[in-house]
């Protein structure tokens, strides 16, 4: 079949605003293998969430994919009609949102919301769907599932709600699970439980997971591969050991250095100076150069190419000299 279950090629997303079109994601490419967990990290405004939403056709009304392709099992999702994509959503591709209280419908019971995808996508009748739903709740570690089925979202705690969301997302055995900050709203002890649950489920069902997060700790825990985004672009991607042990892009290095680590004695945190640029800000050359300690004239003038060694991609001119000979260079726009 396909080596990559999901292939994203040169994806660009823009939003319609009063002042015209505003590009939020300017051409990102990545692949996801079967059973692999890919984490997309970056700070707020880097485009990680809209990228995730575009994968299942959930961009807000004023947003659109203006270039590139999202290939799921060879099919280009950007070319599908909304009816066709609805058949995939919740079935082959499903999503876990950050805030389960806003993602669950407050006026329907847990049971109703769990049965819904089973009835729609798998054509189960109510009694059968009920059984499957109870089973799902048990699998995500909810006690007395029969009783929970009759409860409403507000009757459950935050961790429990997130488990319900995961159960709904898994209802139709999706091939890809997209998780947008699934544990950010939870306490650490509950977060640990949910991350373990996700890892466990992934292994059991061979689901591929695309996780969006800003927490480097969570990334280290769950990822096989890591994509670092900055201001609408991928600045570095590679497997998890490479990114954490040998980060090459100055932004990735800065990001890792600014996380307070409980295992280390640090006197002063190395902050990255400045702030993330706004979308409308025109920055020549590398978009990170105003905050980069190593910026040269070349960085200020020309947008860096992507330099790639052993599937470790870095979008930075610093890699150019080193890359000569051994790295392949991907010229970008």
């Amino acid at each position: 079949m396909f080596e990559h279950i999901l292939e994203v090629k040169d994806l660009g997303i823009q939003f319609k605003t009063a002042e015209g079109f505003l590009s939020a994601v300017h051409g990102i490419s990545f692949n996801v293998k079967r059973g692999e967990t890919v984490c997309i990290v970056g700070e707020s405004g880097c485009g990680k969430s809209v990228s995730a939403l575009s994968l299942i056709g959930l961009l807000p009304n004023n947003g659109e994919v203006y270039k590139g392709a999202i290939k799921f099992q060879g099919k280009d999702l950007t070319k599908l009609t909304s009816d066709e994509i609805r058949k995939l959503r919740g079935n082959d591709i499903s999503m876990i949102f950050q805030e389960p209280m806003t993602a669950l419908n407050p006026v329907f019971t847990i049971g109703y919301q769990l049965r819904e995808p089973l009835k729609i996508h798998q054509g189960l009748n109510k009694a059968r769907a009920n059984q499957v739903a109870i089973d799902l709740l048990r699998q995500v570690g909810i006690s007395v599932p029969e009783q929970r089925m009759k409860q409403y979202p507000h009757e459950l705690s935050g961790g429990m709600r997130q488990r319900v969301m995961i159960a709904i997302a898994l209802a139709c055995n999706p091939k890809i699970l997209i998780a947008d900050e699934p544990t950010t709203a939870l306490d650490v002890t509950i977060q640990a439980q949910i991350l373990e649950l996700l890892n466990d489920l992934k292994q059991r069902f061979e689901t591929s997971v695309v996780m969006i997060t800003h927490d480097m700790g969570v990334v280290a825990e769950v990822a096989d591969r890591v994509i670092v985004m900055y201001s609408g672009e991928i600045v570095e991607q590679g497997d998890v050991e490479t990114i954490f042990n040998h980060p090459e892009h100055p932004y990735t290095q800065g990001l890792l250095a600014s996380v307070p680590n409980v295992d280390l004695e640090q006197d002063i945190l190395e902050a990255i100076p400045g702030t993330m640029p706004n979308l409308e800000e025109q920055i020549s050359g590398c978009r990170f150069h105003p905050r980069c300690p190593f910026a040269t004239d070349k960085c200020r003038e020309t947008k860096p190419d992507i330099f790639s060694i052993d599937q470790h991609d870095v979008r930075c001119w610093l890699k150019e000299a080193e890359a000569d000979g051994q790295a392949s260079r991907i010229i970008s726009n």
Partner: protein, 323 residues
């Protein structure tokens, strides 16, 4: 540390919110948000308070600032018993105690320019004239890393990190000696969070500030604190110097909390202590030790007897039968 005079003493403070129900709205039960906290906050230290949501850490911060009346206990600020002070009596003290909030956007008036927002405290508490006040505001803005040209901008024109700097400038305006930071950096991105933490540390040295730093993030708390208090369900669990607490946690809850933090390093598998279940409701707390329902070491004594808060050696305190 023992001989120093405490800046702020908190003696057995409790805050219970009544739950009224039934036809006559009688008080049936109470939510025990804060259930007996005794603390000495030393001058010029940073006392971190950590715990999961619902553990009462924010309520404690509000009680300490006199924003929330307490049910029981005593508050002594600089030797003065302020427990039953009326608001007019509290007013002169309030300029010495300030707060930095989690979400600076929610705590700033969207229609007020930030210069006047920082100035507000000066109008209420000082007799400076308009020109002197403006001068002072601009000094404050520079101190926290804002440009003087930002004076007449509105809050929405700033990024999250800059807004938090505005919040810090407001808190600093009256030269306070004591600042409660309630999740002050939790809403910020890591790169900016590190900037704000470094700023807070520098200001503490320059102005001899005392911080009560409330946060759920154990990494941040470790970085900024001198001593750390761990709370669970309104109770004190463990209190020790930062070094002791992180290298030698004695209470099983502290241990579990520390082991649950995802580490930003790829290393060999760590052995994690997994807690079962969730935090019980503070309206209906468990008998005995509040943590016994989730504790991996729990014995029968834990459900019968509430463990005593005791010194387990060298200013390290814990409430556990087995610590």
């Amino acid at each position: 540390m023992g001989k120093q005079v405490a800046l702020y003493q908190i003696n057995d403070v409790k805050k219970h919110y009544p739950i009224k129900s039934g036809l006559l709205k009688r008080t049936k039960k109470a939510v025990r948000a804060v259930n007996g906290i005794t603390l000495d906050i030393q001058e010029n230290e940073t006392l971190g308070v950590v715990g999961e949501s619902g553990c009462g850490k924010s309520t404690l911060g509000r009680i300490i600032l006199g924003l929330e009346p307490l049910t029981e206990g005593e508050l002594i600020f600089k030797g003065e018993n302020i427990t039953h002070y009326r608001s007019s009596q509290l007013k002169p003290l309030k300029r010495q105690m300030q707060m930095i909030f989690q979400d600076p956007y929610a705590s700033l008036d969207p229609r007020q320019k930030i210069g006047p927002a920082i100035e507000e405290g000066l109008i209420i508490h000082t007799s400076l004239n308009a020109q002197e006040r403006k001068q002072k505001v601009i000094e404050l803005m520079q101190e926290v890393g804002l440009q003087p040209s930002h004076y007449s901008r509105y809050p929405h024109e700033f990024s999250g990190g800059q807004r938090q700097r505005i919040g810090i400038a407001r808190a600093l305006a009256l030269n306070p000696s004591f600042i409660v930071c309630d999740e002050a950096v939790s809403a910020l991105d890591v790169s900016v969070q590190a900037q704000v933490i470094n700023l807070l540390k520098r200001l503490q040295q320059d102005y001899r500030l005392t911080y009560l730093f409330i946060s759920h993030d154990l990494g941040v708390v470790k970085h900024i604190s001198d001593r750390v208090l761990v709370m669970y369900l309104g109770n004190m669990v463990e209190l020790a110097s930062v070094k002791d607490l992180y290298s030698n946690p004695r209470h099983p809850y502290t241990n579990a909390l520390l082991s649950a933090i995802p580490r930003p390093t790829v290393a060999k598998e760590r052995v994690k202590i997994k807690l079962q279940g969730e935090i019980p409701s503070p309206a209906n707390p468990p008998s005995g030790c509040p943590f016994h329902t989730r504790c991996p070491l729990a014995q029968s004594v834990c459900s019968d007897q509430k463990p005593e808060w005791r010194n387990i050696g060298g200013d390290h305190f814990a409430a556990c039968h087995f610590a």
